[in-house]
Symmetry: C2
Subunit: 213 residues, 2 copies
DNA sequence: GGCATAGTGGCACATTGTGCCAGAGTGACA
DNA sequence: TGTCACTCTGGCACAATGTGCCACTATGCC
């Protein structure tokens, strides 16, 4: 993608942020988010409380980077898509790409995401973070989708496509995270997300099947 | 629907809750959520701060009842649907019903919802509440949808249908709330929500329309 | 009327999150 | 190498959030 003109300071900031995020994730998963104080996260991450709040605006926010890393990659891929390519095809392609880790770092990132998501099934505070991340992602997705939509598409359709795409990814991740067994199987995750997205774009096929009691 | 065996105490609790909610909504819309203290809401609503926190677990939560009232009605209607009726038809019917106010109280409730939603477009804290309400609604919708789904439907499809329904309603409300002009036109709101839902269930029709630059 | 129960208010307190200022590290330039 | 500007960091004070605890009051039931 882009080069790394990261100065020493920039690199140390990235490291500090990631260190705080993973420390927070460990503690939250261990004891639940509200049984952990900001002071404890800061101490274990090796920074002062005041510094913690310079990196993150709330205590819960500390784990957000672990959840947004995939979404950020996805938005970048969509934004870079060829406007001549069909939007739906581009979305399928990018969904598949972002759920298929290619480097060791990407795999580790995915593991952290799913692990945290797994912990959040029994922690309301973490669910809030996840929901916020997804809402932000949907808004972000709208702005990168707009330039590659067919010319005549109206605002409502743009919103719907962004919602469908974000929901497909979200639901696939949630479903995988809730099951212990499937939590570490990226292939299943990718195919599930694609299946979800295709059901949205091809119509949820329930019209001809009333329940007969 | 159901009768009102509300005792005096129960009625006063309802009144107090609504009074707090509307007081909070007024203040939040006026000055933004974080420029308002819990103490001020409590004072203007005529209760002690300690009592405020017995009704609501956080300051922002105070406005949630104004946003959930429609969703609650909707869930009740879906739960009461005939299992022999097609699910998609039932959803269209109930979406239309819940956005068509029949009494003066329902109309007032819808006004408060849209007004608050309008204010939340420029207030991050209120957006969080709205997102949380929608997530909760989606989960709730799953459990009331499950009994009226076709027998063979799998868990993923259930999740997708709930997400599609909740998203259709959410997006229609957001789109209406963001425009000053359409904010007070329930008919437009209902038709927009139906249109959104039908696009989900009939497939987002973008397959044959790549953008030609 | 009198009693059990449940809602209310006041108080103390841990925790959150921010403004402010002082110290320490980095990078540029002479 | 020295020094200067700039940014990151840490400590402190402080307003505000949210909770546990206890006493007080009103409702509902006999």
């Amino acid at each position: 993608m882009d080069a790394e003109p990261l100065s020493l300071t920039e690199r140390r900031k990235r490291d500090t942020q990631l260190e705080i995020a993973r420390t927070a994730a460990r503690l939250f998963a261990d004891r639940g988010a509200d049984a952990v104080t900001a002071e404890e996260i800061a101490r274990q991450a090796g920074v002062a409380v005041r510094t913690f709040y310079r990196y993150f605006s709330t205590k819960e926010d500390a784990v957000a980077p672990l959840l947004t890393v995939g979404a950020d990659q996805w938005h970048a891929l969509v934004a870079a898509a060829d406007p001549a390519e069909n939007v739906v095809i581009a979305l399928e392609r990018t969904i598949s790409a972002v759920l298929t880790p290619r480097t060791e770092d990407e795999l580790e990132g995915l593991r952290w995401t799913l692990g945290l998501l797994h912990a959040s099934t029994s922690d309301v505070a973490l669910q809030h973070v996840w929901h916020r991340v997804n809402s932000d992602s949907e808004v972000q997705l709208r702005s990168v989708l707009a330039p590659i939509m067919p010319r005549e598409t109206d605002s409502l359709t743009l919103r719907l496509l962004a919602a469908a795409s974000a929901s497909a990814l979200r639901i696939a991740l949630e479903a995988s995270a809730e099951s212990d067994r499937e939590m570490h199987d990226p292939d299943l995750l990718a195919s599930r997300a694609l299946s979800a997205f295709r059901q949205f774009t091809s119509g949820l096929d329930l019209a001809a099947n009333p329940r007969t009691n």
